[in-house]
Symmetry: C2
Subunit: 268 residues, 2 copies
Amino acid sequence: MHPRDSQLTPSSARVRAAAQLGRRSSRRRTGRYLVEGPQCVRELLRWEPEQAEDVFVTRDFLDRAGEFSELLAESSVHAHLVSDAVVRAIADADTPPGIVAVARWQPAELQHALAGLGDGFGAVLSEVRDPGNLGTVIRAADAAGAAFVVVTDASVDVTNPKVVRSTAGSLHHIDVVTGVSFPDLRQATAGTVRLVAADGYASTQLPAAQLEGPHLWVFGNEARGLPDDQVAACDDAVAVPLYGRAESLNLGTAAAVCLYASAMRRAS
Amino acid sequence: MHPRDSQLTPSSARVRAAAQLGRRSSRRRTGRYLVEGPQCVRELLRWEPEQAEDVFVTRDFLDRAGEFSELLAESSVHAHLVSDAVVRAIADADTPPGIVAVARWQPAELQHALAGLGDGFGAVLSEVRDPGNLGTVIRAADAAGAAFVVVTDASVDVTNPKVVRSTAGSLHHIDVVTGVSFPDLRQATAGTVRLVAADGYASTQLPAAQLEGPHLWVFGNEARGLPDDQVAACDDAVAVPLYGRAESLNLGTAAAVCLYASAMRRAS
């Protein structure tokens, strides 16, 4: 809908309810989350317009970013023209993004995601705790053409505002399965989809990894890696080789290298 | 040297001088910088002990991390046993790392680095402004076995504490050339070493890139990429393919994928 002038202030109930979505308890209770900044809101409106509920935007932002007038007009989202103070009151980021949205969170179903995997690959994040890392891996998985991402229930909340921002819109591009434990995942994939643990201690190195056929890369905690029992439960364990003196790569770069290895083998 | 009990307090001249190294002006004036936390200080002492000048460490930290007693005893660094308040006063990081060092900064010489390149590859960072990104790329270059990293003078200071921390010790593993402009670099490499621009708009995609022979990947600013004139001045421009809907990768992940492509072609 076309943006409408609103009388909303930082103390309006609707604004305070949106601002509450910075907290996990409020997101869990309402099933809603925040999407902040031009890139993320644009990707939400392009790829998941049916999940967008409210957009709070300043006149100044709309004047600078013309494409949004059209995007908003074409969607059924409630677009509120508000003051900068209202956007700041809602948004989690320190730098005022000019636009922030409230969206419904609809995780993908594991069975549905697996049914659509075909010969492709996906990514699993197990016990990942840093929001920036989680978002970076979701973005890399999207870029590499992964079919979906599974975030196990021992990981940071995918709808945490820092995760959402660091996906740079990819959260709205790729199916994300949540609410699944590692054992659930193992059971659901046994005999059909290979789980490949990314494990710095593995004897198989990436150039020699078997990446044909449907598989899911499994990435662990940024500090501790994957628990031994999860590595053991995977079908394969693969290390990104360290050719220099570094002891490890960080999670985001390691995941990007692994996911692109799968992608480029398919493309070649 | 064995750590010695010291009477240093947060207001001691030596402590205040070290704390000043959080500021670029002080680093430039003194040629010194800060190295914080167990991993970075350990790698400094292992790989560049001759550059380490002072280490400030708490008794509590030494009791927990026994390997440091030996590392310190074997080096000629001045090791001061201090209170947690002194370490906090010096360190830039919010979380108290228990150990912080002052080191001399000695950039590598471009001509020397190029002379040692052989058939290898390296990385160039041009106009990169985010300390975390710069550090992540240095770490990835180290892991991928790059011969050296060039950080052009239009980039963030390599000895910024956030850069140092995010290299996770790699700053002490790999030669880093600073104080060179992009035109200087182009002139020094013309006809001998290929410059390969990482450029999302390039028509050549990574799987088809020519990565044989000595080459330097050139990575640009995290938001704007490389300036057009720098892309044009490179011998090749290569894009990391985007197989999904993402508009781009972040700098750290894109650089890791490119550098590992060079590394794995050599290994295979």
